[in-house]
């Protein structure tokens, strides 16, 4: 029987910036549910080179983060991120510490650390200072946690489930 690929889930965000905490809240929710076969990490415990450091060889990585697009607040996005399509908004220059997501994914892919990277994004509204999530984002977080197995199945099939 073929061994299932490890899935590394990385929650990003600021717990003190209202809805921006969505990615962290999803990972905390997953921790309570304790699904098997997931490696759960929060971005604040990771540094530059994090994908190479913490993803197991050949794993699937799901980044969970607050996002803003034209969609309705509370929308749950699940997107495959092929390395060549992830472009940092601009290139890090004088400040030298951060590598940027583009570099992280490219490095990890080159070294075979991750076969696929996905984004589980929660469409947010308010990201001002504070610890309260808006009702729409709270509901989206619950949905993202409860539907997570479905996302994992889609990720293992390396497909885009068409959720937005």
């Amino acid at each position: 029987m073929q061994k299932q690929q490890t899935i590394t889930v990385i929650g990003c965000g600021n717990p003190y910036a209202a809805d921006d905490a969505a990615g962290i809240a999803v990972v905390e929710g997953l921790r309570k549910a304790a699904p098997e076969g997931l490696c759960l990490r929060l971005m604040d415990d990771l540094g530059p080179g994090f994908l190479c450091d913490f993803a197991s060889q050949g794993s699937i990585v799901i980044l969970v983060d607050a996002v803003r697009s034209a969609a309705e607040i509370g929308t749950v996005h699940f997107l495959r991120l092929p390395p060549e399509t992830v472009v940092s908004r601009s290139v890090q220059r004088i400040s030298t510490h951060s590598l940027g997501l583009e570099t992280e994914i490219q490095l990890a892919s080159r070294f075979g650390k991750c076969t696929e990277v996905f984004l589980l994004g929660i469409e947010i509204g308010d990201h001002s200072s504070g610890e309260n999530l808006s009702p729409a984002v709270s509901a989206a977080i619950e949905k993202a946690v409860s539907d997570f197995n479905y996302f994992c199945r889609c990720a293992r099939l390396q497909c885009h489930p068409g959720l937005t």
Binding site: D45, D53, S90, V91, Q92, R93, H97
Partner: protein, 433 residues
């Protein structure tokens, strides 16, 4: 009739954490008029919001200032508070704190050497391009960095922003068996660090020299890291308590970050690995000292691009000293000392990966912070970076804008700057009026 041309270059860099910085170069009739390393980062108010907090919270709060050098902030703060409260931690605590600092030097120096500066010296745009050409080299850098992070996690409870350090010692001491089990990784890291010194010695370092005043801690018996007197290549030799009389911070209109200068003559100075190796060469561990002698550099060196060599030597030192500390470690029953809370004021300076880091705190009788002052190494280097750019840019004027920008960035990268200890938005404008 004189024809004047206007050149304008704008670079933008943005990552997740907000902040803004830029480099403005102004030329008049082809002559350099002004260089300004603009830092637009929003103030982070750490010194302000430490006020009113218990002194016990300070090491954990200050560790959050930086994800690359949290130990440095933790060490300077905890030592300053212990100085204020006249607390003397046990010798074993002192050794373990050096070990924790070594872990940070390993991860930070490996990051800068391999992922951030080496691509410059190979003439490549990024570490991704370097990984395509030299995959084993980048793999080695990543693995070295990971050893540092793992050692930090073992001692500090987390690989970033550790939480084990407390005023008086450690909340929890590691088991001797845990540390001994880590020796194998450190032995690999030591070998890899020695290889690093050989590899950086082959890199073509640009020719550039300046009349630097190097400033670092110095200790009579060890390579200064967590304590010592502040010395400089210009003959300065002061106690840490004299720091604020000797150095001052100035506000400049083009930057929200303060610039540090010598208080008496308003001149710049340089802190960091190059200063440390130049000033404390004789206190390096044996293999590190040997690597320095074989590096092809004549120490002291006044070429800032040799900073990568200095970092590699400190990488060896950190691995070597870590092994020494672990080999002699004997677990204690208790990790901290007890003391009565009282009022007091104290300061401390330690050597962050990027250079001298100064903290001062005043604590009241309730144990609350009344005043905090933090002077990070990058703020101490900003004026020096601008001075370097003033020397460099006139030699570049026949180059294209893109080439000038690349050369300026390379020079600034020598300092491994930590602009607000996070990431920033950079705009570069080059104007020829």
């Amino acid at each position: 009739m004189t024809t004047r041309t206007t050149r304008s270059i704008r670079l933008e860099a943005l990552t997740r954490v907000e902040g803004e910085g830029g480099l403005l170069i102004e030329l008049h009739d082809g002559q350099l008029q002004n260089v300004a390393l603009d830092i637009y980062e929003p103030p982070r108010f750490f010194e302000a919001f430490l006020r009113g907090r218990s002194f016990r919270e300070v090491p954990d709060i200050t560790a959050r200032i930086c994800g690359i050098c949290p130990v440095a902030y933790q060490m300077s703060s905890v030592h300053a508070i212990e100085s204020a409260l006249d607390i003397r931690p046990a010798p074993e605590v002192r050794a373990l704190r050096r070990l924790l600092y070594c872990a940070e030097w390993i991860e930070s120096h490996a990051l800068h050497i391999y992922l951030l500066q080496a691509p410059d010296l190979y003439g490549l745009e990024s570490v991704v391009a370097l990984a395509a050409q030299q995959p084993d080299l980048v793999r080695q850098g990543l693995k070295l960095k990971k050893v540092g992070n793992e050692l930090m996690e073992l001692l500090g409870g987390r690989s970033v922003h550790p939480v084990s350090v407390c005023v008086g010692g450690f909340h929890k001491l590691p088991f001797a068996t845990e540390l001994h089990a880590f020796r194998e990784k450190l032995e690999w890291a030591l070998t890899a660090s020695l290889e690093t010194t050989k590899f950086v010695s082959t890199l073509p370092l640009p020719e550039f020299q300046a009349d630097y005043e190097f400033v670092a801690l110095s200790h009579p018996n060890e390579y200064a890291m967590n304590e010592g007197r502040i010395v400089s290549s210009a003959g300065l030799d002061i106690a840490v308590e004299e720091y604020e009389q000797t150095f001052m911070e100035e506000h400049v209109p083009h930057s929200t970050a303060l610039h540090s200068v010598r208080a008496d003559r308003r001149t710049s100075y340089l802190v960091g690995p190059l200063a440390r190796v130049n000033l404390n060469l004789e206190h390096l561990m044996p293999l590190a000292r040997d690597a320095a002698e074989k590096s092809g550099i004549t120490w002291p060196t006044f070429n800032p691009y040799a900073g990568i060599v200095a970092r590699s030597i400190e990488l060896v030192h950190a691995c070597e000293e870590s092994l020494q500390i672990i080999n002699s470690y004997q677990q204690q029953a208790k990790g901290d000392v007890e003391w009565p809370v009282r009022s007091g004021e104290g300061c401390a300076a330690t050597e962050a990966p990027r250079g001298l880091l100064y903290h001062r705190y005043r604590i009241n009788e309730k144990g609350l912070v009344e005043f905090a002052k933090i002077v990070p190494p990058t703020a101490q280097n900003y004026r020096r970076m601008e001075d370097d750019l003033r020397l460099l840019i006139p030699t570049l004027l026949k180059m294209t804008d893109e080439e000038i920008v690349a050369k300026c960035e390379q020079l600034v990268r020598n300092y491994d700057p930590c602009i607000s200890c996070s990431t920033h938005f950079l705009k570069l404008q080059l104007k020829d009026q």
